[in-house]
Symmetry: C2
């Protein structure tokens, strides 16, 4: 789970995943479309493969990479455990706290940066 987050936290990997949502693609195609070097793409794909987000299908010298469902399913299940947070009046409470925070900030010290 954490590894999946880490995998998706990298902007270029995220872009690769988004691209693959449109269907399987070989490395070079990804490389060209996203303007990334080929080794860069290969390395990112390796990580995505490690966490199970993609799988490669050899096709001659090419490798067709495509998304895999499992990690996304797990992600979905994990989110379900938090569903109460955006259901019902929990929402309002959340908003309330957000308001309180905004009131607190202006008083707060502003150091630098």
């Amino acid at each position: 789970m954490i590894d999946t987050f880490a995998a998706l936290a990298e902007p270029n990997r995220f872009r690769i995943v988004e691209l693959l949502r449109g269907g399987p693609r070989p490395v070079n195609d990804i490389s060209r479309r996203l303007r990334l070097s080929q080794p860069q793409v290969s390395k990112h794909l390796r990580i995505l493969k490690t966490v199970g987000l993609v799988a490669a299908q050899p096709r001659a010298q090419e490798r067709l990479y495509q998304l895999r469902a499992q990690p996304l399913k797990e992600f979905h299940d994990w989110l379900e455990r938090y569903r109460q947070l955006w259901d019902a009046r929990f929402e309002e409470l959340d908003e309330l706290v957000a308001e309180l925070n905004k009131k607190e900030k202006p008083n707060g010290r502003k150091k630098h940066k």
Copy 2:
């Protein structure tokens, strides 16, 4: 979105989020329960706050931190766009590719780690 992934990719931050699923808690409480130093917790909370995953509610000297719904909702929406992946026969196709990969792997070199 990506920043949220990055926030959750850090193990201790993930633990904090999971802990907060049980309800709001002050910093010291989090610190004790997760066996983390207080500055450590404060810093992680700052990051979680930046991405909107938590909000702080001042209560005397304490600050009650609690989860916020919005980023999780965004996650959910983002996942919806991938839902086709684990619906219907797309699943089977995925499994098939996984099989093909297993056949390919055994040939592969195993480096280290």
